[in-house]
Amino acid sequence: MPAIFPRWTNNIPIAIGLLAPLVGAGLIFVVWYWFSPSYTDVGYRPEQPVPYSHKLHAGDMGIDCRYCHNTVERAAHAAIPPTQTCMNCHEQVKTESLRLRKVRESYKTGEPIEWVRVHQLPDYAYFNHSPHVAAGVGCATCHGRVDKMEVVEMDQPLSMGWCLDCHRNPEPNLRPLDQVTNMNWDPTQEAYDPKRDPARKRQVNPPLHCSGCHR
């Protein structure tokens, strides 16, 4: 009686033994690399209704972030400025510019400009700007060099792992309390020790427990 399985089938277990780990590792790599928010979220830069440039306003002209995002020190939400804030200047400069047509229209009609949201945490996660700003975490740490962006983009993944990386060891990310909005302050260049800063009344204590961020 001829053999049911031809001789080459003897190699199948070896082939599986060799290939399965490779395929498995490949799959893990694919999920780790392409399913991570570092891939899906970072670099998202929606086109905005008005070609407003942070590089021009915050970078070249050096307007402080809080001129426009004025609630960031006091509230959870960093307010996107109303049209009035733009008109403080644009009633005076570039009054004829076509790129500002929507701003002028919005000012006249009272209809807000519909800016497209860039950063958005899932609704089950709680984030609050004010304790971070009060603790001396710079805007640039979480939003990147906004002063160099023509169009705002996501610079950090905003994933849970990313939040926790900092919450476990916040010290290297802290800066003097008056440098929070300074985009040029580079933590790797300056020797700053938050423990010896007399302006700090208390040491920071970021939550690691689940209910800190999922409330």
Partner: protein, 210 residues
């Protein structure tokens, strides 16, 4: 064999199309598992078609006042004395101190410096570009601003004047007083010699400048 090669080619092509981390894109992020990412609740500054004006953040009903915001203190909220004149002193509860001036300087540099400049000469960075301002921001060292009261700066910072808009929506009231004190400080340290200032201002000179 050809099929194996096609498979490899297809995989390589797929990986290339998928790209690397940090690629820029104006497509919204794809999240396969949405779970409870978007819940039925309003968030700050969101749109909501339930309301006629589309705003989630509801403005107060006309004629109502939030607790603590009756603003009955004319001096604090409007910079006015009981007789209606602009006050030249800080309101009760706000003390002239190094901390107040530091705060004033910081807030001035955020909200006023873009137009009026760090020293108050009216030549801030925003006025030097794009053809300049149609009406130039005021130079606080001009003769006509030296005798004005502290309350005047507070009033302009709050309600604006001429082609300048007010900042009472952006800046809390205490900070507007701190800014007013800092503008006065700039005048004292600026071109004006101390003797030219009104008596009031001389008395209010911050200690560290004397």
């Amino acid at each position: 064999m050809a099929r194996v090669r096609t498979t490899w080619a297809a995989m390589a092509a797929l990986l290339t199309v998928m790209g690397c981390r940090g690629n820029r894109s104006n497509e919204p992020p794809v999240h396969l598992q949405q779970n409870m990412d978007f819940q039925e609740r309003g968030e700050a500054q969101e749109r909501n078609d339930f309301f006629a004006d589309g705003r989630v953040m509801r403005p107060p009903v006309p004629g109502t006042i939030a607790v603590g915001y009756l603003k009955e203190d004319d001096h604090l909220w409007r910079g006015r004395l009981p007789n209606g004149a602009l006050a030249d002193e800080l309101p009760a509860g706000i003390e002239l101190s190094a901390a107040l001036l530091d705060r004033g300087q910081e807030r001035y540099n955020i909200y006023c410096q873009p137009c009026h400049g760090e020293t108050g000469h009216g030549n801030g960075p925003a006025t030097r570009r794009g053809g300049g301002f149609a009406v130039a921001p005021a130079n606080f060292h001009q003769q006509k601003f030296l005798p004005v009261t502290l309350g005047y700066f507070f009033d302009v910072a709050s309600n604006g004047k001429g082609s300048m808009k007010g900042y009472k929506a952006q800046i809390p009231v205490e900070d507007r007083w701190a800014i007013a004190a800092w503008v006065r400080t700039l005048q004292v340290t600026g071109e004006a010699s101390v003797d030219e200032l009104p008596e009031q201002a001389q008395n209010q000179r911050p200690r560290r400048i004397q």
